[in-house]
Symmetry: C2
Subunit: 113 residues, 2 copies
């Protein structure tokens, strides 16, 4: 549906593309970052607010926000003493939505190996 790229469906995708996918998906590969992103999907939040939201230490939150920032998934803007973070754009929100959606519908692996 919709985005049926077939350049991507080629026998082997460009190595650069593969690496880019892995790098971006890596952002969603840890509970802490997923939690941060999902929280930011609801509304912009300051670092301090995020710290209380997810129950991590301030330093850990800052470190992970930096990772997400460098991946272009979130942006931070100064507001007085604090810095308010938000998702970079709607693409990120969509990516999150679809990750949630698909994971919810995956058959959760066959327990019988």
């Amino acid at each position: 549906m919709g985005h049926g790229r077939d350049g991507a469906a080629a026998t082997t995708l460009a190595p650069a593309g593969v690496e880019a996918i892995a790098r971006t998906m890596h952002a969603l590969s840890t509970p802490s970052r997923v939690q941060l992103l999902l929280r930011l999907r609801v509304e912009p939040r300051t670092v301090g607010e995020l710290v209380e939201d997810v129950g991590m230490e301030q330093s850990a939150v800052s470190h992970q926000l930096r990772v997400l920032r460098h991946l272009g998934l979130v942006v931070g803007e100064r507001a007085g003493r604090q810095i308010r973070y938000r998702l970079h754009d709607d693409h990120v929100a969509q990516l999150l939505d679809e990750a949630v959606f698909h994971v919810e519908h995956l058959t959760a692996a066959t327990p019988s190996e």
Copy 2:
């Protein structure tokens, strides 16, 4: 568009859900697994074929296929001496498509900083 789950959009998603997302997305967080999945999206392949496709060692391919199997993303079926792998279902193919699509359209992080 489409799957607008709002249970997922709650202030904080269920911890179990967050972990599930992270675990599944972890499968797409490494170039080797992305390469394998993208190759399998085109058509089913035996282990030996995948080894030649992606240029990894047979052992490495088997190990990564096991990871993907346990996550319910691929399934393997015996065919004589060899084992033919394929994506578990269309959900996985869609997830791959959307990962490729979104990553292609992400603004690639701010080069500054």
